[in-house]
């Protein structure tokens, strides 16, 4: 019995923590004393203005989002105009996970910055998703699709694909068997498999 599973990240959400760990280029605007170690290439005790750094979103956001920002940010190239053209041409042909595994989730966070390129970002994400969704759905519904194809998809699409695939499998099983079968739960089956392989390892 699964509950409504639309994407809604929360404080404890693993995907959200990983998505906010993705990095952006930043430039330090003000001197920050005693934090020079953040710049690996410098020996300085203090973080100097003008230093270029790659920071995770969560840190970049707290350093940028205020009336007096500590650092300016540059949004990743795949959310910019030139890449937008590529997506408009044929979003389905791109292996999005190569650009960023958390393409959509990270994009939603990046859109919060006050940067000119961020205005059109939500629209871009929505458009990309709409054009690719049909492809993901077809892959999920077709039983001959190689499940390894999921690794080519960014995380949001991957979750949808895997869940679509699982429900297709359940439907097919139900048609064949007619429901009512009791199966060993996946958790326990995997647990036993692991026990067996550990046992074999120990015997060697």
């Amino acid at each position: 019995m699964s509950l409504c599973s639309s994407y809604k990240p929360n404080y404890f959400s693993i995907d959200d923590i990983l998505a906010t760990e993705e990095r952006l280029s930043c430039k330090v605007l003000q001197k920050v004393p005693r934090l020079g170690f953040m710049d690996h290439s410098s020996e300085s005790k203090d973080l100097k203005p003008g230093t270029k750094l790659e920071l995770s979103f969560w840190l970049a956001y707290s350093m940028n989002k205020s009336k007096d920002p500590i650092a300016s940010i540059d949004i990743p190239k795949y959310y910019k105009e030139s890449y937008r053209e590529i997506l408009n041409a044929d979003a389905c042909a791109i292996e999005l996970s190569k650009w960023n595994t958390y393409f959509y989730e990270f994009g939603l966070h990046v859109a919060k910055f006050d940067h000119p390129d961020c205005e059109k970002l939500p629209e871009l994400l929505l458009k990309t998703f709409k054009s690719r969704f049909r492809l993901v759905m077809d892959w999920a519904q077709n039983q001959d699709t190689n499940p390894m194809i999921a690794s080519q998809l960014p995380m949001l699409e991957r979750t949808i694909f895997l869940s679509g695939r699982k429900s297709k499998e359940q439907l097919v099983y139900w048609f064949k068997i007619g429901g009512g079968g009791i199966k060993t739960t996946e958790l326990i089956a995997n647990h036993k498999k692991r026990k067996r392989s550990t046992f074999i390892e120990n015997e060697r």
Partner: protein
């Protein structure tokens, strides 16, 4: 064939028996529970509880089990009655399990909302409320033991605002209108106003129809 007909008739009569108040039959209670079960499965948030119906149905099951004892074990009638009982019990279990899952997932959020409603209007039964409180305090205790107490003072707080997990009430749901409903506002880039004909089916954001689900005008499917 005759025996089966007899059993089916007996069952139907049994379920159609009204209670002393004269309005409610076991069959209608079962239907109410089935509807509540489906609504609960598909609604993102927890819905008002149906403990009265559940209690009533469980008592019916007890009656049926008592009646069965007189039929003798292994008779055709008892097998069919047993099947019926198993199926009713499954529906009730599934319904209550779904609610428990939501209570666990959204414990903080649900308790905050319940506190704002009067005891009479609460969505949780008193047993569910107790479960929710116990569950939440067990989590707080673990957090405190393994992490919070070891953190600097300023960060030891269990921050309700940031840590509350909320259901996504904007998720889309499939529904069927039980009667004609006008003036539903569908949010979007442009808010649209639509009407639902009786018996029609739609996909719409849950937030647009939440109240209608709770008052029975709409059935989630």
């Amino acid at each position: 064939m005759e025996e089966v007909d007899e059993v089916v008739e007996e069952n139907a009569e049994f379920l159609e028996e009204s209670d002393e108040d004269g309005g409610v039959t076991a069959q209608s209670v079962l239907q109410d529970i089935e509807n509540a079960w489906l609504n609960e499965k598909f609604a993102p948030e927890i819905l008002p509880h149906q403990s009265d119906a559940v209690e009533c149905m469980l008592q019916q099951i007890s009656h049926m089990e008592d009646n069965m004892k007189s039929l003798g074990k292994g008779s055709m009638k008892s097998l069919i009655h047993q099947m019926e009982i198993n199926r009713i019990r499954f529906i009730i279990s599934s319904y209550l399990r779904c609610r428990l899952e939501k209570i666990e997932q959204y414990a903080m959020h649900i308790l905050t909302e319940e506190a704002q409603r009067g005891r009479e209007d609460g969505y949780l039964s008193s047993d569910e409320l107790r479960f929710a409180k116990d569950y939440l305090s067990s989590i707080e205790l673990l957090f405190r033991t393994l992490a919070l107490q070891h953190m600097p003072n300023v960060l030891q707080k269990f921050e309700i605002e940031t840590m509350t997990v909320k259901p996504n009430i904007h998720a889309h749901v499939f529904l069927r209108a039980n009667k004609r409903i006008t003036g539903i506002i569908v949010p979007g880039t442009v808010d649209e106003e639509v009407d639902f004909e009786e018996g029609s089916q739609h996909i719409v954001q849950y937030s647009a129809v939440a109240d209608l689900v709770k008052n029975g005008d709409i059935q989630l499917i």
